[in-house]
Subunit: 336 residues, 4 copies
């Protein structure tokens, strides 16, 4: 039985808690949230022993084996360092921080203390993407040549969220940067990003973009693209294609049902799932199950701190590329 403390009981924290309570070998022992009074009733209904507004109560609690960090991004690095020093294993939502220097610092402490850290790139645990990754790793398509990721949200978040989000590349496309490395099994060496404000002018007014295409060059010589849009009217669009000298692997969207309606107006099938809660229901369960399995078995996590850092580096390069209108090499970010 693994005892878990959850820090941050907002939307994503609640999602994890509701998954954890159905797992027979895991116990949610404690929940902390700065605004705990807003969620106290919700937490109490789940029979959780310790409820607090102070994350350090969880980190200092000797009964706790591992923490889930689901608080705002700006708090992640300090909580990781504190948890690591308290010898807790750590699951942290993405991104680790808004600055690759800050992230590196946190990873240093994790390394020193020898605890496990898994970053919340939930899409690695989705059946479709995992199947593709396995097939590529097994040589089904031979050497990889090109990659294409399409990732569109059903609607933009509120402007207030966007203001503090760090921008589309670090907030949204970071999932795709990680997916690109995961599927291609190769680091990104160069990034050329093109962004546009096509959906909502207010997004541009706060300095962000709502539509972007990024052209990636991988260390293994492959090239690829990622496309993001903040608003697809037909739902959450999550697709990937990888092409190599022995073939191609393509994954389409999942849908609520596979019913086809032959009508006078056309042949109609379901739209994709509306958003990530419906689309990645099972992936969110699997990522925690595998995190716990890694702790119990002492095996490596599927998605490490370095994976988190690499995705942040690509996001940083993308941001810079868009600003200067030219390709940016990842290596140039590492030089001082």
């Amino acid at each position: 039985m693994i005892n878990i403390g959850v820090i941050g009981a907002g939307r994503i924290g609640q999602l994890h808690i509701d998954n954890l309570v159905t797992m027979p070998t895991i116990k949610v022992k404690a929940v902390a949230d700065v605004y705990i009074d807003n969620v106290r009733e919700w937490v109490e209904q789940r029979n959780i022993q310790y409820i607090t507004n102070e994350p350090m109560d969880i980190i200092n609690n000797p009964e706790i084996d591992a923490v889930l960090i689901c608080s705002p991004t700006t708090t992640h690095s300090e909580l990781i360092k504190a948890a690591a020093r308290a010898k807790k294993h750590i699951f942290c939502e993405k991104p680790i921080s808004f600055s690759t220097d800050t992230t590196r610092e946190a990873l240093e402490v994790v390394k020193e203390e020898g605890v496990m850290l898994q970053v919340g790139f939930n899409r690695r645990f989705d059946t479709n993407f995992r199947t593709i990754q396995n097939q590529v790793a097994n040589g089904a398509i031979g050497s990889t040549h090109t990659l294409r990721i399409t990732s569109r949200d059903p609607q933009p978040p509120p402007i207030d969220y966007i203001k503090t989000s760090g921008g589309l590349f670090i907030d949204m496309m970071i999932h795709d940067f990680d997916m690109a490395r995961y599927v291609m099994q190769s680091n990104v060496v160069e990034v050329h990003a093109k962004g546009a404000v096509l959906i909502d002018e207010k997004i541009g007014e706060v300095g962000d973009i709502d539509t972007a295409i990024v052209l990636l060059t991988f260390a293994n010589g492959s090239i690829g693209t990622i496309e993001n849009s903040r608003k697809a009217i037909y739902g959450y669009d999550q697709r990937l294609e990888v092409f190599g000298d022995k073939g191609a692997l393509v994954t389409e969207n999942n849908r609520p049902s596979n019913v086809t309606y032959f009508s006078e107006d056309g042949v109609i099938t379901d739209k994709p799932y509306h958003f990530f809660l419906e689309r990645y229901t099972q992936a969110y369960i699997s990522e925690i199950e595998q995190f716990v399995a890694a702790i119990v078995n002492g095996t490596e996590v599927v998605c490490s701190g370095n994976d988190g850092l690499q995705a942040e580096l690509i996001a940083e390069a993308a941001k810079k590329s868009m600003e200067i209108g030219q390709p940016v090499r990842i290596a140039s970010l590492l030089e001082v």
Copy 2:
């Protein structure tokens, strides 16, 4: 260069003529139609040498190598006999006649005269169905167990047509009876037919049905079903599935384009082609090309007079089965 005479210049006759004029090795030398004045202008535009209201003018014309019989069903058998006696090769639209005795008589003459006869079961020449037939013949699914044919028209023909059509089984489902034998490579031994009037009461008033399911037993032990409807609001529905101990083969409808529209209201693709002219455009061309190839090379036709007869026998059994509400064995129709 094969010289062809076409008897009957109605809808299907015109379709064949328009295909024939694009084939470099075939010449449409003569066209006959009882109501030739109605179509004279249409025929003249195609630079056809002999235009007549008398089919025997074509049959007696020594320049003609082969005739296409596209006149009403009631005229087929006499024209076949006359053409055979004049040593013309014959392509005849389905069915050969409304009576299996009449059909047998005509086939007898064809045999005696040693001319070729191909029956117009155009669907045998469709890429999808031919691919399935080839795959079954090549053993892709091992021994066949079950067959399913779905065949729905976009709308019923006029009541006046239905009155003289011979009924749904001989007029419409006869295509599917032939397809069943073609794909299964086995004769039908028993038929149980269930019919209903669900679309238009007027169809029932003239003694016909508009919806039917027929349960077939094949000589090789397989079983199967054919479903027909006179009206599918979404277009011409032409599908087939065959299942065996090594797998299944399924063919879906062809559509005008393969574009998918992801909209707020669902994911929409094209309806099937509207009707047989669009759906079987290429099959109509191929059936004539292969008829001519059989003449030129002296090879067997894909769809023989006996194939025509067998389909008519199944239709007769289906009609009787529906009337008595019990299964009917084909053998029982052959006993005197």
Copy 3:
């Protein structure tokens, strides 16, 4: 909190228990199995309070609110009667019995005692089939004309199971008989069944069939077919199509992933899920959730004792039809 006792801890009983232990508002209080020693360890690992080899221990236990009957079919009717008399709500696996008379007797007691009875037709709770049923009920296809159900298992059960199974119609196709009534919202009035032994001669030697097609006539005038095979080499094949005057609804198989592999040998996608455990994972959860919801809210169950009886009547008619080689009217089974 609803306290549940499970009678029968074989494959299906264990499936239900594993689902129940993840549901926060349900407690599995007791498990009974005649061969309890074979499964005692498995049950104990799930922290279940009462473990017994005597079903009546559960039925007589006042702490129990509802029982799940997952024991062999021959025991169902007596257990239903006993549980009903003890005022327990009942979930019973299909079929209720091998004899419609026995089933009727059990239903009589259930009615007298006023308890709830839900029959385990799990497919009603599958998203695809439920979506189709809802769409039909909402008039999406207007009046129904025809129905087609395809249902194939990946492999036959052991011969010893088949001997006591009651035969394909009551053991396997009964799910489809229920589905037919569920989707068409109409009773079946006539059945014509055709069976064959095409997969394994041993199945024929014990008096059963392995392949069957049944032609159904519904009270509302619609017609339809059900096809069953005991062995589809490509996995569990579960499809349905319903056609009406305003269109058609079709559901295809679910698959482990939606990845497409474009290879030199063709374009390859996943086979359907292997069997019912994978295919109906969520449906098994939903059926229990809705059973409990019906108890808590006093609403009607989705799948009643009468639904179980009706499916058994159709199975009985199918068996008789196959034996006599003629259609059988359901009404004829009700006359004495």
Copy 4:
């Protein structure tokens, strides 16, 4: 009746001739080829009146209404100018030339002489792409945001061809540059091209690439990508997706049949058509039909000389971008 002369009877010239001879309102009056003896027999079989090794024989022939220029790219511009001065309408294969200056010169003469010029971008006449273009133009997806074109050949051309091809951008991707403008109804303003040699080192040795992704910015603010590969092991891959604020339109590959094979090894469908001859059979027919229709009716051609020039400008920008490793604006190519 339009009399046509064809200049160049290589692969593409023969394709056009075989299409032309089936069209009732068109006559192929003359064929010229520098190496006419190699193809004389082939041409004679088609009953063509004038056969010559001198293109000017056709251009000077007063019986000819229009010429098809299917000779090597280096000859196009001079032939266009000569034909225009002889008042012939012109259909010219793509590209018009390897230099935008040369192309502009030829277009100048066409304009002065007032003849029609259609460039052979056959894909505009494909049903799938035309349907998408129409839907975009009709506002089905609202304002366009992003475009994606995937275009892969089944195998690279011979190295000797590649040496004189002008490179992947002008030889192969030029089709996609035209398609991008056609679908988006907007000019390209900036290009960033990334190329790689991943298939065959020999291609790199002669100074070309075999894999490329180009990032495009359109005048209307949309962005998009084109991906090309010289070798897809599964066949000719021709897909397109356009996304806007009201939805997305996607077209998949066409295949020889729509048969699905459910086997023990997976669910297998046909690979895409092997190459352009099979894939664009109907598009090649339509482009000539519409060229002739434009002549007869005096309407505009679907694909003008300026369309040819614009595609060449994008190709030039792509080539330069790849060389300098930075985005290139189209406007910068127009400055002197």
